[in-house]
């Protein structure tokens, strides 16, 4: 029952994350969803998963989102009218803090599953080694895609056609090209930590 309650709160936060026009607030609401998720995971006897969820889901993804917002600029779109906006403006921060507090609180001992004789790490690293290996594949392809997507526009075509003026907002030199690629490094580091 309590889990349903938590999930309903999470659903509420999720609605807020979608409805609010302020992107950063939206990210905070998402972080609270993540925090609630991780609490539910705790109550479902999945502490390790909960920890990873709170660190990756609430932490890394939020960072990524904020990072993206800072690059892309905070463009607000009037999606649909926000009736609750004023009341709820101040809520997310408080909620997030409360939730964090709850996480830090000592939680009841988790009871390991009956059928699973092996521990979490055995299962993860040995039984399901293939999944882990595949995670590496996924991360590698994601990194490649990221580099590909965010790298400077391909040069040869641009170099060959001197006649066509290039838009100003595109990087114009090789050095900048390198600089942008290097900018991605922090993200990569963060992802490597994951593995």
């Amino acid at each position: 029952m309590d889990k349903l309650g938590l999930l309903l709160i999470a659903a509420f936060c999720a609605i807020q994350a979608i409805r609010t026009t302020n992107l950063l607030l939206s990210v905070l609401w998402l972080a609270s969803v993540s925090a609630l998720t991780s609490i539910v995971l705790f109550t479902l006897d999945a502490p390790q998963a909960a920890v990873i969820e709170i660190s990756v889901g609430a932490g890394l993804v939020a960072v990524l989102l904020v990072f993206a917002i800072s690059i892309a600029g905070e463009e607000t779109l009037q999606d649909h009218d926000t009736l609750w906006k004023k009341i709820l403006r101040r809520f997310p921060l408080i909620t997030a803090l409360l939730l964090l507090f709850w996480i830090i609180l000592p939680l009841p001992e988790t009871q390991p599953g009956v059928k699973d004789t092996a521990t979490f790490s055995t299962i993860l690293w040995e039984d399901r080694a293939l999944d882990v290996l595949l995670q590496i594949v996924i991360i590698f392809s994601a990194v490649l895609s990221l580099l590909g997507l965010l790298a400077d526009q391909k040069l040869p075509a641009a170099v060959q056609h001197h006649a066509t003026p290039r838009p100003l907002d595109e990087a114009t030199s090789l050095t900048e090209h390198v600089a942008i690629v290097e900018d991605e490094e922090p993200i990569l580091e963060a992802e490597r930590e994951l593995v």
């Binding site: 029952m1 889990k3 349903l4 938590l6 999930l7 309903l8 999470a10 659903a11 999720a14 609605i15 979608i18 992107l23 939206s26 998402l30 969803v33 993540s34 998720t37 539910v40 995971l41 479902l44 006897d45 999945a46 390790q48 998963a49 990873i52 969820e53 990756v56 889901g57 890394l60 993804v61 990524l64 989102l65 993206a68 917002i69 690059i71 892309a72 463009e75 779109l77 649909h80 390991p112 599953g113 059928k115 699973d116 092996a118 521990t119 979490f120 299962i123 993860l124 039984d127 399901r128 882990v132 995670q135 996924i138 991360i139 994601a142 895609s145 997507l149 965010l150 907002d169 992802e191």
Partner: protein
């Protein structure tokens, strides 16, 4: 309804909220956020499945994989979103509807 089924109900609600977000929002970053919400719902579904079948540890290891994959999807979509912003100057998904018919 027992506890697990109620939790699954919650999962479905959360999932529904995520889908609702995908259906209604035009903001690209919010679309990514909606995908994340759906991801959370799925994660809890797995945890519930773990308790129901008494294979919590297995479920946990699956959840880790899901989180990693979801994050990678978020990373790539955000990279795309940034590109969209830089090339088109907007984050409105409605502007991205030139490929039609």
């Amino acid at each position: 309804m027992n506890d697990e089924e109620l939790t699954l109900l919650g999962v479905v609600i959360l999932f529904g909220v995520g889908v609702y977000g995908l259906l209604l929002t035009h903001h690209l970053i919010k679309i990514v956020i909606a995908l994340q919400i759906i991801g959370k719902a799925v994660i809890i579904a797995f945890a519930v499945a773990g308790t129901m079948s008494e294979r919590v540890q297995l479920a946990q290891s699956l959840i880790v994989t899901i989180i990693v994959a979801d994050t990678m999807v978020a990373v790539i979509s955000l990279a795309l979103v940034i590109q969209v912003k830089q090339r088109l100057g907007t984050l409105d998904a409605r502007e991205l509807s030139n490929l039609r018919r």
